[in-house]
């Protein structure tokens, strides 16, 4: 198995606060990793460091084979990131938005409808401004914007937040399917009882490092 994420002694700083304090972690292709930990444990920062959005100040970091200390932009086009925020243009219509994200990710515009259906956004909402949607619907549009780009590495921060039970199960299905097709998934969640099922490995973080790793070899 090839390593998708390989962090060694990684220290990262946001502003003037150390968010990662010597993190060691290797995630192989096809794994579904659940990140746990209290608020401020470094889950979000780890995901953002994997996406190359925060730079690594010391240690070694490779993502999808790219050295993040040399060029942290290189792997981004193969990564789908869903943060706390949904990254939605609230003035655009649902379909327009997903279409835009599809094209921006280099996918075909025609994949849009399939992605929206797969995530379960009802057709009635496709021509509605995103700003007028409920929180759960917005989350679904954000997930559809991700699905449409077919990333090789999924980085999800509390993806289940504000989704109802049915949508959660549907998301788990989508993730399981993607991992079977060879994608790697790392997601952070507080609600471990609900989501543990799809995870092949559980990592507990604290103080910007790994505290416990169920899959450590």
């Amino acid at each position: 198995m090839s390593a998708v994420v390989e962090f060694e002694e990684v220290v990262a700083v946001a502003g003037s606060f150390p968010v990662l304090t010597g993190l060691d972690l290797r995630v192989d292709q096809g794994e579904v990793v659940l990140l746990r930990g209290e608020n401020g444990a470094g889950k979000t920062s780890f995901l953002r460091a994997c996406a190359g959005l925060i730079s690594v100040s010391s240690g070694d970091a490779h993502v999808l084979g790219f050295d993040m200390r040399v060029d942290r932009r290189a792997p981004r086009r193969y990564i789908g990131l869903l943060g706390h925020e949904n990254n939605l243009y609230r003035d655009l219509w649902v379909r327009e938005h997903v279409e835009f994200r599809a094209t921006a990710a280099g996918a075909a515009e025609s994949d849009t409808d399939a992605a929206l259906i797969r995530v379960g956004v009802s057709k009635k909402l496709w021509t509605v401004p995103i700003g007028s949607l409920s929180a759960g619907q917005r989350r679904k549009v954000a997930i559809a914007s991700l699905v449409v780009g077919r990333p090789r590495l999924w980085l999800l921060d509390e993806p289940h937040a504000s989704l109802d039970t049915e949508s959660r199960e549907n998301l788990d299905l989508i993730l399981a399917e993607a991992s079977q097709l060879g994608a790697t998934i790392i997601f952070a969640s507080h609600e471990s009882p609900l989501t543990k099922g799809i995870a092949s490995r559980v990592i507990t973080m604290g103080g910007g490092r790994v505290l416990e790793d169920s899959g450590a070899s």
Binding site: A14, P18, T21, S55, S57, R69, G206, G207, L211
Partner: protein, 254 residues
């Protein structure tokens, strides 16, 4: 750990800067004597010509400082590993030079306005060089404002470097557009290849004043640089303390 950090840190003073500081004070004193007492009054401008011994070197130094800011900014942006000390060195240099440049631009404006009051009979003329200088002043005040904002240091430095470059490219554009607009100012006072209009003792006084002001500016830039370096050191220590305290706490609780 403290001794390691401190051994490569610049101290607040060195023998070289001590000498430079004493030299700066002596040079300024001599400049005052030469400019205010020894050099003669001008036939046409009278005593007002003495203002030029500050005014003209100040703007040259200001331009020199802004050139330094721009060159440092280019070198900063070119450096690939910006977190390493070499890159941050250029960033500090850019910041300190810009601040000293702003101080001297301010002095240029004040002395220029006083000179104008005596020579033209008014503090302000919408003349090309005065207008350009005031815009230069505001532009670099904006640059300093950008540098002071609370943000990630690397992000801020990078944005500031881009701003320094754009501002510098913009200086000639501003100058020529305002110059076309109107020109009242006397022609450049001292330029290579042309016979200077200021001659004899006045010429030498102006030349000497430039040297003296250069020494003062160099001393200021070096010390300002050190203050930035010290501020960064302080931040780094706070950060190191934060990292170790996080580690200790987590080790204890688990």
């Amino acid at each position: 750990m403290t001794s390691v950090t401190h051994s490569n840190a610049k101290m607040t003073a060195t023998a070289t800067t001590r000498v430079l500081g004493v030299l700066a004070i002596a040079a300024t004193a001599l400049m005052t004597v030469l400019g205010l007492l020894i050099s003669p009054a001008d036939v046409i401008q009278g005593e007002a010509v003495r203002m030029l011994y500050i005014h003209v070197p100040s703007i040259w130094i200001a331009y020199g400082a802004f050139v330094l800011t721009s060159v440092s900014s280019i070198l900063f942006l070119r450096g690939r590993k910006r977190r390493e000390d070499r890159g941050r060195h250029y960033d500090r240099l850019a910041g300190s030079a810009a601040e000293v440049g702003v101080v001297f631009t301010g002095i240029t404006l004040v002395t220029g306005m006083l000179w104008g009051k005596v020579t033209w009979g008014t503090y302000w003329q919408w003349d090309a060089r005065l207008t350009t200088t005031v815009l230069l002043f505001v532009t670099y005040l904006g640059y300093l404002a950008l540098r002071r904002l609370p943000a990630d240091p690397i992000v801020r430095s990078r944005r500031a470097a881009v701003m320094a470059l754009i501002s510098f490219v913009n200086v000639p554009i501003v100058h020529y557009s305002v110059d076309w607009w109107r020109t009242l100012h006397q022609k450049a006072s001292l330029s290579v290849g042309r016979r200077p209009e200021i001659t004899g003792e006045m010429y030498w006084t102006l030349l000497y004043s430039t040297l003296a002001v250069t020494i003062v500016a160099a001393w200021l830039i070096i010390h300002r640089y050190r203050v930035i370096r010290l501020e960064e050191l302080r931040d780094e220590e706070t950060l190191a303390a934060l990292i170790s305290s996080r580690l200790d706490k987590d080790d204890g609780s688990n």
